[in-house]
Amino acid sequence: MSEKVADWTTGTQAIVYQHCVACGSRQYFRRRFCAACGAPDLVQECASGAGTVYATSLVCRAATPETRAHVPYNIVLVDTSEGFRMMAHGDNDLAIGDKVTARFTQFAGRLVPYFERVK
């Protein structure tokens, strides 16, 4: 297993996923093996940022002072063009099925992925 490629979870502007050499599965949550087949041979790749909105929830009541400063903010699940699903922020008016593309933004002191509608 190679070194972890830097991504948004560690403050770098990238969305990284793993691709299994043995079975072809793609997974977003990083592991030392493929969750589908158990093989240890995974390749890390950067996602294009293109995807389709699967679900949305506009958060209007946050639980911490840091996140409360951002309300309302839209939590979205996006099906990426690479074939994995991820959680991110997005435009408040995104609808299920919208084609979106990722950029990055600051949220409660962290870098987070943010999807906006493709014009």
């Binding site: 979870t9 977003y28 949550f29 990083r30 699967y54 679900a55 949305t56 929830s57 506009l58 958060v59 209007c60 009541r61 946050a62 639980a63 911490t64 996140t67 951002h70 309302p72 903010y73 939590i75 979205v76 699940l77 699903r85 991820m86 959680m87 991110a88 922020h89 299920i96 099925g97 949220f107 409660a108 962290r110 987070v112």
Partner: protein, 378 residues
Amino acid sequence: MSFITGVGLTSYGKHEGSSSLDLMSEAAAMAIADAGLQRADVDGVLCGYNTVAPHIMLATVFAEHFGIRPSYAHAVQVGGATGLAMTMLAHHLVDAGVARHVLVVSGENRLTGQSRDASIQALAQVGHPDYEVPLGPTIPAYYGLVASRYMHEYGVTQEDLAEFAVLMRTHACCHPGAQFHEPITVADVMASKPVAMPLKLLDCCPVSDGGAAFVVSRERTGETGILVRGCAQAHTHQHVTAAPRLSELGAEISIAKAKAASGAAISDVRYAAVYDSFTITLAMLLEDLGLAKRGEAAARVRSGHFGRDGKMPLNTHGGLLSYGHCGVGGAMAHLVETHLQMTGRAGDRQVLDASLALLHGDGGVLSSHVSMFLERVR
């Protein structure tokens, strides 16, 4: 075989000055007395996890506090499914001869023992620590995501979801122990403050203090026996990001396995006790379990189907949405109410026939499921 031989339930809401152990003890004493047993008869203890006062050995902390020395004891944690998961385990423990009388107990002073923000924040940690929690989601947001997708796929509306909040409140108004007794309308739900859209305040269960307990025994201790006829679990994922498609969620898997384990069919069911952390949870689970056709659960609420006098009375105590939610004890109240209904002790709330009941619990974000059939035997 195993029987639910006794039940105990405190009122839910504010119990100023009561600790979690106080609430657990109060419910446990009621359940043991209800079973016609002495506390020394209890040789097994299963207790739910606790967010206000977490402990690595909560069952023995409780046993020492309560004054019993069980031969089997530990805590269980499966989120909202914990109550029924403990019941399932107790059923297998007494069936296998490991214990004769297992006390299943939980209680938390979640409302007065910590701030609401602390509760919301603690629960949001069921999200993935690297890939979800940094985005600031809350439990309502996780379920809000599921709701948006479910509404999109099956044409369910916010007004449809509101019907479930109104129904649970109507039921709670008939239970003196419920946290809320003011009737509400669909318009009230629609006008309530947005929390995590499409979920609004009245689509969400409250935070409560309370305790619940029951005794699971190898033999019945009274004339009427409430038999655990069969149960099963399913666990498909933990995080909502990793959830399968809506048609492959765990409720459908666990109910199919529970039907096989019990030999019961949905058409045999006379009373339903279904997890209702949010209105969407209840709507989806009713449809996943086969208690309503896909997208039609709300229409069944409107027609009175799930009311006290309907064909399938549901959560007649008011559910998590209106009886209250004190953590693990929240969904245990569903089983307590089921027991009261099955034994004809539900007073003004009594339904005509609760001879066979279906119970279902959900933990995480529709992650963990337990389905159970209870049958009255004489």
